[in-house]
């Protein structure tokens, strides 16, 4: 405008340009933006940690209400901002929170006028809808002139990490039982008569049977002494295999195969560990991560931690996992495989191998086509084609004796398991 005014010899235009220039210069002065002119670069870009005098003396501390929570849980954050300088500062403070978090109460973005040598506390509550390892921070502080023309920013490197476990569903029964007894008795029935608590069948009385075992009603009906047989209890080895390949994240961020699989695995792990079973976990994607079989609460937290950190990456085929896994698991152990069953031509052969070795295989297959269709990312024709292909594969697996559930979106895990096991 200034140059145009000179060219046109227009004093009015030059005056407007001078006033505008003066206005900007004064605003820059007020926000202490002299570093731009002095160094030719923003101080944030330089190696110096200090972002100019205006932001010197600002500090922050953070405290979280919990380090580990479950999905849909809430975490309370308390951020203390200090002004150690003797001058008041009008600052914008934004505590950087992960994108998937939802603000439940309060705000992580505060505009404040902080007096000299004062501190203030910002409190807010986050709702955490998705599992994972998360970090809160850094704290971004910004000072700008009153007209919002110039600003200076600085990041206070205050970080706090926390872990969100996948949420779990209460299961009454999983219908999954081992066919092979183990040495130690436990709470799991293995479909063989023996010492246990659950009714298995009736048989005729033979010498040595205790009177306590006699079923008097049956005796009254049949006229023969009949005794109750109980189902043998034993500790089972349960192996959970989770498909965490890149394809497992197909669908919206909060509704996809991997999210459903991790939640299901967490629920199953808790259920089996409560039954005193040993539970092992294998997560495969770009690498094969495994947690060896064990029992107890500590094992549950180990499993939940691995499930929280599962990321959809890579395209390792199931065959590689099976080859690595087979020598280490007891024949006949129940195996629960959680996968969308997509983009892996080795799935059928691998599960056939399991069945050939008499493993009890249950497949829970969250349907990514459903997730995509619900999110209106694929049209009806595409959805129908995908469903048909999927049904063909599922039928083939059922033909091998694998219990498969085409796990539709929003279906409860208990319903899916019941469906898979034919109940």
């Amino acid at each position: 405008m200034y140059l145009l005014g000179l060219t046109l010899r227009n004093q009015q235009l030059v005056t407007v340009a001078v006033v505008l220039f003066s206005f900007l210069t004064y605003a820059a002065w007020r926000s202490s933006h002299a570093d731009v002119a002095a160094a030719g670069q923003r101080l944030e870009d330089s190696e110096s940690d200090e972002a100019g005098q205006a932001l010197r003396g600002l500090g922050a501390m953070r405290r979280l209400s919990a380090q580990r929570i479950f999905e849909d849980g809430e975490i309370e954050i308390e951020l203390r901002v200090q002004n150690k300088s003797r001058f008041p500062k009008t600052v914008e403070v934004r505590d950087k929170v992960p994108e998937v978090m939802r603000m439940k109460k309060g705000s992580n973005y505060v505009l404040m006028d902080l007096g000299p040598r004062r501190e203030t506390t910002i409190e807010y509550t986050l709702e955490c809808p998705l599992r994972g390892f998360y970090s809160i921070g850094p704290v971004c502080v910004r000072i700008q002139d009153t007209f919002g023309l110039f600003h200076k920013e600085k990041e206070l490197h205050v970080y706090d990490d926390f872990l969100i476990f996948p949420k779990m569903e209460d299961l009454k029964d999983t219908f999954v039982k081992s066919k092979v007894p183990k040495i130690f008795t436990g709470a799991v029935q293995i479909r063989n008569p023996g010492p246990g608590t659950e009714f298995f069948s009736l048989r005729e009385y033979i010498e040595g049977d205790t009177f306590k075992q006699i079923n008097w009603s049956a005796y009254a009906r049949s006229g023969k002494l009949m005794v109750n047989e109980r189902e043998r209890d034993a500790v089972s080895d349960i192996i959970l295999i989770i498909d965490a390949r890149a394809v497992s994240e197909t669908g919206p961020v909060a509704r996809n195969s991997l999210v459903s699989s991790t939640r299901a695995a967490a629920s199953l792990a808790r259920y089996f560990l409560n039954r005193r079973d040993s539970v092992g976990l294998v997560i495969y994607g770009d690498e094969v991560i495994s947690v060896d079989r064990d029992t107890g609460k500590k094992q549950l937290y180990s499993l939940l931690t691995k499930l929280a950190g599962a990321q959809a990456r890579g395209e390792t085929p199931l065959r590689v996992v099976i080859n690595r896994l087979l020598p280490h698991i007891n024949r006949g152990s129940p195996i629960i495989f959680l996968s969308c069953l997509e983009d892996d031509p080795t799935i059928v052969d691998s599960l056939r191998d399991f069945r050939a070795r008499n493993f009890d295989v249950t497949v829970l297959a969250p349907s990514s086509a459903d997730f995509e269709f619900d999110a209106k990312r694929i049209d009806k024709v595409g959805f129908e084609v995908l469903k048909t292909e999927r049904n063909v594969l599922i039928n083939e697996l059922r033909g091998l004796g694998v219990h498969v559930c085409d796990w539709e979106a929003d279906m409860l895990l208990s319903t899916a398991l019941a469906g898979a096991r034919g109940f």
Binding site: N10, L20, T25, A34, A54, L111, T146, A418, G419
Partner: protein
Amino acid sequence: MAAAPPPGPPGGGIDIYRKEVRSSAPSRKKAAGSMKSDSIIPEDAIPEVHIPGFIESLLGGPVVHRQKYLKPDGMVRNLQLLSYIVLGGLGILTYIVNPPDGTVWRTLAPSSGLATLMHTLVIFGAILIGGIGIMRRTPQSLLISYALFIFASLRFTSSDITLAVLSNEAMFQSERVKEMLVIGYAVSLVLFFELSNGVLRFSMLDTSIRTNEVYVMNIKRVVSKYRRSLILNPLIAATFAWFALTMNEIIPAIVSIFSDDAGERLRESVELGSVYGVALGTVMVFLVIGGVFALDVPGRLATMRERNS
């Protein structure tokens, strides 16, 4: 021979001997329809993805952001009122200090009457669109208004300040009064930019506060700082501009200290009295400011104050 199972107990009790055999799995689809596992993430938690258009891609982002504001609060209404007043004043000053002579439409129009009409329409359009922009808080309208105001002042002139009206009045014969009018015009233009921008900024802030996006502590102090700046900044800008515009008098006065003749010659110099004199004044004023910035005087002053505290 085994006795037949007894009939079911009267009164609808449970018959433990009669087992119901299911021929198939329970309808999972039905269960899925009625039983929810509550895994749905609300739509507001899924970030919206904005795909930039061709122009936005070229410019690296939208020219003006489209944002919906909540109903204006007291602060925004006051700013709107102030903007209307400044806009009115600016319109009048623009009309006075920018005659249609030398404008593009004066060159194109067959008669001066038509050119004056077009010139008036441009200024009136700038006021009208600016007013709508302030009322509706639409940055697009404000941007058009700014452009029209600047467009109205784009004209070839003969270095001197010429007024469209009032030039025959005795009071406006003085160059000093004309300069003050031009500075007043320039300051009101910049003030209009700032106030209308303030309407948008405070609307945005107010909306963010009311939607719990941002929390403001001690809002009264923040607002009072803004109000103080609204008065102080235009005054300082006007002082700078005054120095730049009167440099054709300051330089001869300084030179006169050393040589009266040289000072007198400078006073009578046509170049120094023209727009190029203003340019020289601007260069001198901003050389000083540039020097202050280059030496990082504000930063050093702040550091000194911190150390002394």
